[in-house]
Assembly symmetry: C2
Homo-oligomer: 329 residues x 2
Amino acid sequence: MNKPNSAPTMKDVAREAGVALGTVSKVINGIPVGESYRLKVEEAIKKLNYRVNSYAKGLKSNRTFTIAVMVPNLISPFFSKLVNCINKSLAQRGYRMLLCATDYDPEQEQSYVIMAEQQKVDGIICLSYNPNLQVSEDVPLISIDRYFGAHIPCVASDNYGGGALAAQALVRNGCKSLAFLRVGSKLTNEPNKRRDGFINACENMAVPYMMKILDDGQPYSAFEEFLQAHMQDGKLDFDGIFCVTDLLAHQIMGSLRQMGLRIPEDVQVVGYDGIRHFGDLDYTCSTIVQPVEEMAETCVDLVLEKNEGKTPSLICLPVRYAYGGTTRS
Amino acid sequence: MNKPNSAPTMKDVAREAGVALGTVSKVINGIPVGESYRLKVEEAIKKLNYRVNSYAKGLKSNRTFTIAVMVPNLISPFFSKLVNCINKSLAQRGYRMLLCATDYDPEQEQSYVIMAEQQKVDGIICLSYNPNLQVSEDVPLISIDRYFGAHIPCVASDNYGGGALAAQALVRNGCKSLAFLRVGSKLTNEPNKRRDGFINACENMAVPYMMKILDDGQPYSAFEEFLQAHMQDGKLDFDGIFCVTDLLAHQIMGSLRQMGLRIPEDVQVVGYDGIRHFGDLDYTCSTIVQPVEEMAETCVDLVLEKNEGKTPSLICLPVRYAYGGTTRS
């Protein structure tokens, strides 16, 4: 305000907000300050049009204010929503995102870890199934869904609880016998716990269940054969199906309809993920909803924190059941 | 190979590939070379495990090898697929992507343009509807869908041709009377040409048509009132509907089914975009498919080219009709 013709500095922001210079620095760096201070600083930044990209100049640190984010692709709606939320959360703290859609390419994944080691980015948030990813201990790396070991914090939805919730929802809706269908990686990862939670809940409720688990590479037709083998006199042996993802639920429902079965009248189906049509319309099926916003926020908190030794190795965030037309309620 | 214990250099790559050092530099920089040379260099890079992130060191230029990409969000399947393809195309040329999901925030959009002006990124690819975006002439900026003026190349699908294709597909499938439904920005942008192409094709075929166009902010219920007003004795006044996007088609089909109409028996529906369930399964409706891969590739070509004065101001890439179950064929 005093220097209307030159770009505002961090000092101008501090004066405008009526706070100490250090407080402005903290807000810009994403270091927690009292809510009222944060709001004052943000208001002053907006009023003075203090620019995010001039932040780095005002700071005596070697931070790049850039976080690398690696996901397999942005075609899968779960991945794209996750990246969307991480992007928003980083932007709110004045951080930029370097995005890498890896297509499961281990070389690309490793190259971003090397960038972090060379301090060209401040940290990494990644969803990788690469069992050989080499990460040195001093790189702030947060993993989503895949547990690499105690030194790398892993953020996931409560997959075990979600599997149980799916079984409970089907039984609450009148199902007498259940099936669990799964396809995916053999690697130890968090989503595999959906099965364990499902089995545990079925056993606790004394509800019979069967399972059909395909390994990576097995053709989808194996599920159709499974369904056909359990069809007698136009009826399935089970009246509730939990599919490991909404995507699989979509495919299975196509097969069930081709077999002349009505959903949810003849068989009820629950998926996992909480995918909506076109990203934000109706759910594609009844589903266990992953808390994507909270997962993104947690990853960003952790990657910027660097609480050495204090960070939990696994953080599971609560899921919820949502009705999406493929169950009775 | 000669120095097994140190990181390979660009010279090692040139020796391995049997090409000049300049050729390696060109390939790394995305400057066109003969196909056979490119393949040799890429093979050598792979064999030696020459790392992308060490590219910059081997070059005497002030390039950052980073392109900023701005889209409104990654929730919409069209945006997320576009970003996925741009990311892949950039990675193939050794470039990284700084991603900004703008949520239509003009301040964020402007801040990335300023970054490019300060040469913190080599260029920008953006999908923005911000009419006030200030871009100086020396910033390599490629726009998708929105025409900013002759100095900023715009890449789009052939929206006019696509609108015509939709009308033709409906008529070829037996429709006698059509409707066009649209919601969206009033700004002059390329997707608005879908309407013009549709009208032109209807007039050429002498097929009657009607239109219902909502402005931003008008409630969806206005479409339901339009449909109700054109319903007589359980039949609609028209038997073919072109919706401006697959998303709108999804919503309209929900309304039609609630009115007791069958698709495609009573009314056929064509959308625009080519959205698939879960990103890569079946189409969500019969649709005009945008060539997303080619659009992404073209944007990357243009932003890295800097052919001053030679670049066309508008590049429209061909679309195609795809059957998705909501028309007879």
